[in-house]
Amino acid sequence: MARIFKTHPIETWLLVLIIVASVILSAFSEQYLTLVNAFDLVNSISINVIFAVGLLVVLISGGIDISFAVAASVVQYLAFYALSYLGGGNWLIGFIVAGGLGIMLGAINAGLIHYFRVISIVVTIATFNVFFGLLMFLTKGVSLYDLPDWWTNRIIVFEREMASGSWAELTLPAVVMFGAISATWFLITYTSIGRQIYAFGDNPEGARRIGINVVAVQFIAYGWMGMMAGIGGLMQAHFMQEIVPNALIGRELDVLAAVVLGGAALGGGRGTVLGCVLGVLLMAIIQNGLNLLGVTPFAFKAIVGVILLLAITLSNVSFNELRVGLRMESTQ
């Protein structure tokens, strides 16, 4: 345990916080610590986790992506028209089309960042505006409700009736989430290109000197993010049973806050899949708790902001440095 704490301090902290938050919430609500609620929680975080593991790869490579949530909305529309052109489609075609469109949008970001040497935050703020502006302009803000049945029918993968008579259910997005988690974990742990993404994010010049293929690293990082954005978009439309052009806007900052909270460094080279998932989970529990306590959703917005600030500050400054700094201020 002590060793795990030493090698993975952030993950351990998050786990402790999640347990503490759960204990507090179960004191307020009897329903909290039940399988039904646990499965609900898993179902509800699945889309954010899919986005988060994509963003994690970009952050590890030393970049950032603000545009992915809007890109997911763009993919929803494009996929809708592509699928009806293909005669309705099915889940397999849906995943291929949504993932492929997402990769293309990610490649646009990677190309701008690599070939025009523009920093990633500027590029993705720009593409965020381009994607969203074009989407609203071309769709005139009109939502789509006539999705194919396969897309909107609920798929329950696992269910069990509880003593209380309610059903604990795991749905398709949860399964896709586990797939996204495993694939990302495999990519960044066990593939050569995944380790090169770490190395490039850690020390770009050093990476160049040992002959790492910088172009491949950028395209795979942003392409992975794009693919996850596309698949997340597919799942979100499935979950909501409709496509609304501005449904996902703002999601990028919630996800970014969760991933940074999970220990991914904004400078690159640092971050784990476990931390990333725990980060999303903790944020969801906080939101869940505030709902249970009847606090307004705006409070959650403020909390997201504070968590983002804290996580970034703590990832740059260690606890020790912070203590010394505070002591100095007080002696002045």
């Binding site: 050569s192 770490y198 020390n203 010049e205 000197r209 002959g211 080279g269 010394v324």
Partner: protein, 498 residues
């Protein structure tokens, strides 16, 4: 014996400036070869050409492993057994030691997947071969600099290097660490790997090198057997000048104390520092990289605040809230990193020089007077004997030595009582260094107090009235060069661990 590498007729031009002219260079297997020369003589350019990082001008011939090339790519050079340990080591601080060592076993190869067990095996084998041991799972950022360097050496061996270039490998090592490094080098040469040292600590290099190639101004001066070379002879070859240094005496005139520091500490940076400087005195602070020298200087200049202790200027306690307070109190600081911190590279010489005294050139309630500015600029350029074409040229057109003079002039214009010079000869040629130290002595004679921070024993020994040895954030000992041997001071400085 066939050389590991043979370069013929290597020239390199950077935008009209000739960095290298017709260099021939060869290294034999198992040899320790020293590449010596002043800053800017073309050593690094030559290494970059051999490592494939930059291309030589047409007409060059590089022979490696019985193959001839005009230019190489980095991947080609590595495949042919060229390993380079760059000065900044080019490691990945967040990754494990094992992965840093073994990274080239999967980068560049066609391996799609990584087996972490394999990586550890590869790293373990290299460590055993070199006789070093590491916690292979530790992150590189947790290692001290000397250990990181060993990681970098291990990495070059994974790709079976037959020639290893080491760019300034000893600049941040203590003597014990340097000895260990030299042992590693001996292990390598015993296996017939050639090692090329680029170093400015010539004493150590001469101790281990078989041959020395000297470059000056991009041209080859010659190749010499190290056994025939002495330090003085080598310096003469490198600079083309004969310099016979002499010690400055102790500051005998009992002047008023300008700066006094009592027991100042700042956690993790320096501890319990006490010293004083009188008017017209030159005090040196000597210590290796990481000894806390610069951190101390930043506190004296008001950039950081000591957590404990007091600083007195002219006998009065001061409590600087920023460096503006320090400047107002008469302290000037010429920073160690001239390129990024000391000068605005793209700006003109005159603008750089007048930057600290813009308020003195104001007329009509806030407008700059170009005439006053010109007076100040002309005065200091004349005073410090700066060689330049036109004051409106960009500062980057000047040589390292002249840039440093402008950096000093910029601060002298503020009319300080105390001038802190932090590593003033970094990036300045040996020949031009003397010019900087002449300025230091002249200024001291006119009554300015000077704190000279350096990691070169020879610099402080020959130019200071008193020298304080700093290590591990504390002042260890005071030396008076007039009453101690050079070697005594050298032993104390390079012999202690950080």
């Amino acid at each position: 014996m066939i050389p590991v590498i043979q370069c013929k007729n290597v020239s390199k031009t950077f935008g009209g400036v000739r960095a290298l002219t017709n260099i021939d260079f060869e290294v034999m297997p198992g040899e320790v070869h020293c590449l010596a020369g002043e800053n800017g003589c073309g050593k690094s350019t030559l290494i970059k050409i051999i490592a494939g990082v930059c291309a030589a001008d047409p007409g060059a011939k590089l022979s490696l492993m019985d193959q001839e090339f005009e230019t190489l790519s980095p991947a080609q050079a590595r495949r042919l057994g060229v390993g380079v340990i760059w000065q900044d080591h080019a490691l990945f601080p967040e990754m494990s030691v094992a992965e840093n060592i073994a990274i080239e076993s999967f980068v560049g190869s066609n391996a799609k997947f990584v087996r972490h067990r394999n990586i550890e095996d590869v790293a373990q084998k290299v460590c055993e071969r070199l006789g070093v041991s590491f916690d292979l799972n530790a992150k590189v950022k947790t290692l001290p600099i000397a250990r990181r360097q060993l990681v970098a050496i291990c990495r070059t061996l994974v790709s079976d290097a037959r020639i290893v270039f080491m760019d300034e490998p000893t600049s941040s090592l203590t003597r014990t660490e340097t000895q260990h490094l030299l042992n590693v080098v001996r292990t390598l040469t015993a296996e017939n790997v050639a090692v090329v040292f680029v170093s400015h600590r010539l004493v150590e290099v001469l101790e281990i090198a078989d041959r020395v190639t000297v470059l000056r101004d991009g041209q080859k001066v010659g190749v010499y057997d190290a056994s025939e070379m002495s330090l003085a002879k080598l310096t003469e070859k490198m600079t083309g000048l004969t310099i016979t240094p002499a010690v400055v005496g102790q500051n005998t005139n009992d002047n008023d104390t300008v700066l006094e520091v009592k027991n100042i500490s700042r956690a993790g940076e320096y501890k319990d520092i006490c010293f004083s400087i009188s008017r017209g005195e030159v005090v040196g602070i000597i210590g290796l990289l990481g000894a806390g020298r610069t951190e101390l200087a930043l506190s004296l200049f008001g950039m950081t605040r000591p957590e404990l202790g007091q600083i007195y200027i002219d006998g009065k306690v001061v409590n600087f809230r920023s460096n503006q307070d320090a400047i107002a109190a008469g302290i000037a600081y010429v920073s160690e990193d001239r390129l990024s911190l000391g000068l605005v590279q793209a700006q003109s010489i005159e603008n750089n020089l007048a930057l600290t005294v813009l308020d003195k050139t104001l007329v009509f309630g806030g407008l700059l007077s170009l005439k006053k500015k010109k007076e100040i600029v002309d005065h200091w350029i004349d005073e410090l004997d700066v060689k330049l074409g036109n004051v409106s040229d960009a500062i980057s057109t000047l040589s390292g030595g002249n840039q440093q003079k402008i950096a000093i002039a910029k601060w002298l214009a503020t009319n300080p009582k105390l001038l802190i010079l932090d590593a003033p000869t970094v990036g300045v040629d040996i020949g031009a260094r003397e010019g900087i130290f002449k300025i230091v002595r002249d200024l001291a004679n006119k009554g300015l107090s000077i704190l000279l921070i350096s990691d070169e024993v020879s610099e402080v020994y020959f130019n200071c009235n008193r020298v304080l040895h700093m290590s591990g954030g504390t002042l260890r000992r005071e030396f008076i060069p007039a009453c101690c041997d050079f070697s005594e001071m050298e032993d104390a400085v390079y012999g202690t661990d950080i």
